[in-house]
């Protein structure tokens, strides 16, 4: 493996001025993730079809090339980035591809006339995601640049969120949720991109206004409550989520956006009272939504007892639970279970497929890989030297954590179903591409956070110089 010009592991020896970059660690872990993926694919092919195909070799080369490129780009343009972020993503994407391939085979077995395969499509999406990942790292040389476009991004985010609601149902509705833009055979879920845009906006806005928002007006029962007029932003965010819920019937995005905003508000202001206010607004909103909307009631009812609604809304979760229970500790083995019995196993319920075939151990391993990804992101936030980067890294990391919790909680019956996708693992182009962008931003921030502060002179966060830097790239 060739190494980038700036990389010499020995330069990172203890006691040296530079902290270790750990790029070779990243490379080794990436190799490990690619290996696991290829072994998983080979097992799937052998178990289900009994033979290995040349497609596996093609896939292997392509998949390995993706992460080699990603690694080289990081080595060259973000050398101090956290070495665990990329391998965690690679492992999740690889496992996801293996399971989508596995479900493709199951669908073909059930109906031999079926030639549609989703795994190659997903690989194309992953490639596109990687192109954007590289693009973000090349163009965005300093994450603080993003704060300049905060309001633009907010507008973009809101427009993205609003489009499906404004489009006619024929172009925006799939399975009852109006969250898509369907053009020319492609389905794009703009909410996934809106999530990133709005998180950037939240970070910039909150850094700007956090002093005001942290002002307490009075103490009630040991809590310092903010002034009434400062409640504005949280009410707007809340209203926005309610609008999403009403016009797009999208419980997931609504919950996700509001959760991200409240947590970022809490981190920015260090006031627990915001959490309580957020929780109160959420509880109120949830109660009203439950009273008003049939689909919310249905979700809650079938969450409380999926087996009672087995013939209707509870079927999916019940089947997922059957799959998980049948998988038990060790699972049925890749290709040995019947994950195709769960409707939409490829996208919303891919975690159930993992649990059924890889067992408790496999599913917990996947959860822990997510945990590693999130905690590395939060660690980036902790050591980040600028407030905007800190808040942005926190927001993006929490976005992943919150989404994983809500989705996996839904699939395993811990929470009502929301219709969010499992980041990186599930089939779905928008989600995959958007999350690649999200990780690119995290990598960029972590590079800045871990980069030694002084030696090359203090590049002031001179915002005025920023456009010049963009042109230089």
């Amino acid at each position: 493996m060739t190494s980038g010009p700036t990389t010499d592991p020995r330069a990172a020896a203890p006691g040296a001025a530079n902290p270790p970059k750990r790029r070779n660690t990243e490379l080794a872990l990436l190799g490990f993730a690619v290996l696991i993926t290829l072994v998983a694919q080979a097992i799937v092919d052998l178990t289900v079809t009994g033979s290995l195909t040349t497609e596996l070799a093609t896939f292997g080369v392509w998949f390995a090339a993706l992460w080699t490129v990603a690694h080289l780009v990081v080595r060259r343009w973000a050398p101090y980035a956290d070495p665990l972020l990329l391998p965690a993503v690679a492992l999740l994407v690889g496992l996801g591809l293996s399971f989508i391939h596995r479900l493709d085979l199951a669908a073909q077995q059930a109906d031999s006339a079926l030639s549609r395969e989703d795994a190659p499509v997903q690989l194309v999406w992953a490639t596109l995601g990687l192109v954007l990942f590289v693009g973000v790292l090349l163009v965005l040389r300093d994450h603080r640049l993003l704060s300049r476009f905060a309001y633009t991004l907010a507008l973009v985010g809101l427009v993205l969120l609003a489009i499906p609601a404004l489009l006619p149902s024929s172009l925006s509705e799939v399975n009852g949720a109006k969250i898509w833009i369907r053009v020319a055979g492609f389905s794009i879920q703009p909410g996934e991109f809106a999530k990133i845009c709005l998180t950037v906006f939240f970070a910039a806005y909150l850094v700007d206004k956090r002093d005001v928002l942290a002002l307490a007006s009075r103490r009630v029962m040991g809590l310092e409550l903010p002034r009434g007029r400062d409640l504005g932003p949280v009410l707007v965010a809340w209203g926005l989520s309610i609008l999403v819920l009403v016009f797009e019937r999208d419980l997931g995005s609504s919950l996700l956006l509001f959760g991200i905003f409240v947590v970022m508000l809490y981190v920015a202001t260090e006031r627990a009272s915001w959490l309580l206010i957020g929780l109160g607004l959420f509880a109120g909103g949830a109660l009203v939504a439950y009273q008003l909307f049939g689909h919310v009631q249905q979700r809650v009812d079938s969450w409380l007892d999926p087996f009672e609604y087995y013939d209707g809304s509870g079927f999916q979760v019940a089947q997922a639970l059957f799959g998980l229970g049948t998988g038990g500790l060790f699972g049925a083995g890749l290709g040995g279970g019947r994950p195709d019995q769960v409707p939409v196993a490829k996208s919303d319920f891919i975690a159930a497929a993992v649990g059924e075939e890889l067992g408790l151990f496999g599913l917990v391993a996947v959860i822990i890989v997510y945990l590693v990804l999130v905690e590395r992101g939060l660690r980036t936030s902790l050591i980040c030297r600028d407030a905007f980067g800190k808040l942005l890294a926190a927001g993006l990391s929490f976005a992943i954590a919150w989404q994983v919790f809500v989705v996996l909680g839904g699939v395993t019956g811990l929470l009502p179903l929301t219709g969010l996708t499992t980041p990186f693992l599930a089939y779905g182009g928008s989600s995959l591409v958007a999350n690649f962008v999200l990780v690119a931003v995290l990598v960029r921030i972590s590079d800045a956070a871990r980069r030694p502060a002084a030696p090359t002179g203090p590049p002031k966060p001179a915002l005025g110089d920023a456009p010049t830097e963009v042109v230089q790239t």
Partner: protein
């Protein structure tokens, strides 16, 4: 901002821990419950992937699995389904397994420990795992004759080999077609089940072992056995046989069948009393013997004993509570709360036929591995010894007289002596008709019980001819 950040990090840890605890609960604690839930077709579908063993009777497969093109690799088929349905049961996607398909599931599916090494070998050789075969004790001629005899009525026939306890025939009507419950089309299965549900009498119930009925006069064989075993009676002992018997402590008069006198003198021998099935004589005899002797003898024949598994689970037969002498009198003629399964009735005849030794009834003769090697052969076992060989001989003499001279004439077989006893039991509807017996009387090969629910006639008219046909079919087949 670091303090709240750390708290967020810890919260994320807590949330993920919740997820992990929850999947632990699902995949470990609730695993068995979810796996075995009837609506979870995963295990069943997995089962359909391997070739299920056959159920064999008389050298032919009465249930076997054949390869199909659909998603479930094998289809269960029942040759002559309705005739063997009471024993084979069904193997249904929708309703699970019943009867032998359930009781011998481990063998048929290949999960049985005795097939373990074989499965281990399959694992390494890549051979498709297959289940073992279950070879039934049923004799096709007996089974078919029994089912044909019951055509059009609700009833049951059980035929046993008295010397081993092997079940030669087990019929129950009305019957059904297990093929239609075992197809691969859930909608068609449900339709057929709905059709069965709509019938007045559920054909899926095996009346031979899972239904109990008042035995009527066939119970007199048990009372006779108790009398002879007490040492105070012989077949020639003369006992009171009044035209009517006022039950002790009541004003109820017990009459004979049709209100007739058993003997003009009001007394007759035990042999004669059984031959013409005299109610007053046996009621008085039961009262004279006392509840203990009657109950002990009934239990020795298996009534009220440990529930049998042959391996189909058998419902328990019972004498009921006998509170008074009046109740004892009525119980002694097989009424009151006495209730027997047809299998239990056959066991009474079988014990008498086998010199007083009751053999454990069983339906599975052999268990075979998929390569047809025998991995288990049932050894006949003694269940109990209700009467001595001498008493058995005396009972045989009396029961032979029933067929030769009494109510069981229609069970006579040319060229063979038949011993038997008829029963006509009162119940809420028309009388139940029974016949128990065995043949040949001097060297018993087959013991039978025939039950026709609400036949309306007498045991001698309705059930004895069916018993005769069944016994004759078997004796013909044996070259006798």
């Amino acid at each position: 901002m670091n303090a709240p950040l750390r708290r967020v990090a810890i919260s994320v840890l807590v949330l993920f821990t919740l997820l992990i605890v929850n999947v632990n609960v699902i995949q470990v604690v609730r695993s068995d419950e979810l796996r075995s839930d009837g609506r979870n077709t995963r295990v069943l579908v997995e089962e359909y992937d391997s070739e299920r063993g056959s159920i064999v009777a008389g050298g032919t497969e009465v249930a076997n699995s054949v390869p199909t093109d659909d998603q479930l690799t094998y289809l269960r088929q029942y040759a002559n389904g309705p005739v063997y349905a009471p024993v084979t049961g069904y193997y249904s996607l929708v309703y699970g397994n019943a009867q032998m398909e359930r009781a011998a599931d481990d063998v048929l599916s290949g999960d049985d420990a005795r097939l373990f090494t074989r499965r281990l070998a399959d694992l390494f050789t890549g051979r498709d795992p297959a289940g073992g075969d279950v070879v039934l004790t049923l004799d096709p001629a007996v089974q078919e004759t029994a089912m044909a005899g019951l055509e059009g009525v609700t009833g049951a026939v059980v035929a046993l080999d008295p010397s081993t306890g092997a079940v030669l025939g087990m019929a129950s009507t009305p019957t059904y077609d297990p093929n239609q419950l075992s197809s691969h089309e859930p909608a068609a299965i449900r339709d057929y089940a709905a059709q069965l549900d709509g019938m007045e009498i559920d054909p899926r119930l095996n009346r031979a072992i899972n239904a109990r009925y008042e035995p009527g006069s066939i119970f007199k064989v048990v009372v006779s056995a108790a009398a002879l075993s007490s040492g105070q009676y012989t077949p020639d002992t003369v006992i009171p046989a009044p035209q009517e018997l006022v039950l002790p402590g009541t004003r109820t008069a017990l009459e004979n069948f049709g209100g007739s006198a058993c003997d003009p003198s009001g007394r007759q021998s035990l042999l004669e009393a059984l031959t013409i099935s005299c109610n007053t004589a046996f009621a008085q005899l039961g009262i004279d013997l006392g509840e203990d002797r009657v109950r002990e003898m009934a239990e020795a024949f298996g009534i009220g004993g440990d529930p049998l598994e042959i391996p189909l689970p058998v419902s328990e037969s019972t004498l009921g509570e006998i509170e008074t002498d009046a109740a004892l009198g009525v119980s002694s003629i097989g009424q009151q709360d006495v209730q027997l399964t047809p299998l239990q009735a056959a066991m009474i005849a079988s014990a008498v036929a086998n010199d007083g030794t009751l053999m454990s009834p069983y339906l599975v003769d052999q268990v075979r591995a998929p390569d047809l090697s025998v991995i288990d052969q049932t050894d006949p076992e003694e269940l109990s010894e209700p009467v001595s060989a001498d008493v058995a001989d005396q009972l045989t003499e009396m029961m032979t007289s029933v067929v030769e001279n009494g109510s069981g004439r229609r069970a006579r077989i040319p060229g063979a002596t038949v011993a038997g006893k008829t029963g006509t039991a009162e119940n809420a509807g028309p009388d139940h008709n029974w016949f128990i017996g065995f043949a040949p009387a001097d060297d018993p090969q087959i013991a039978v019980a025939v039950f026709v629910a609400n036949g309306g006639g007498t045991g001698g008219d309705v059930s004895a001819p069916i018993a005769r046909d069944v016994m004759q079919a078997y004796l013909d087949g044996q070259g006798g």
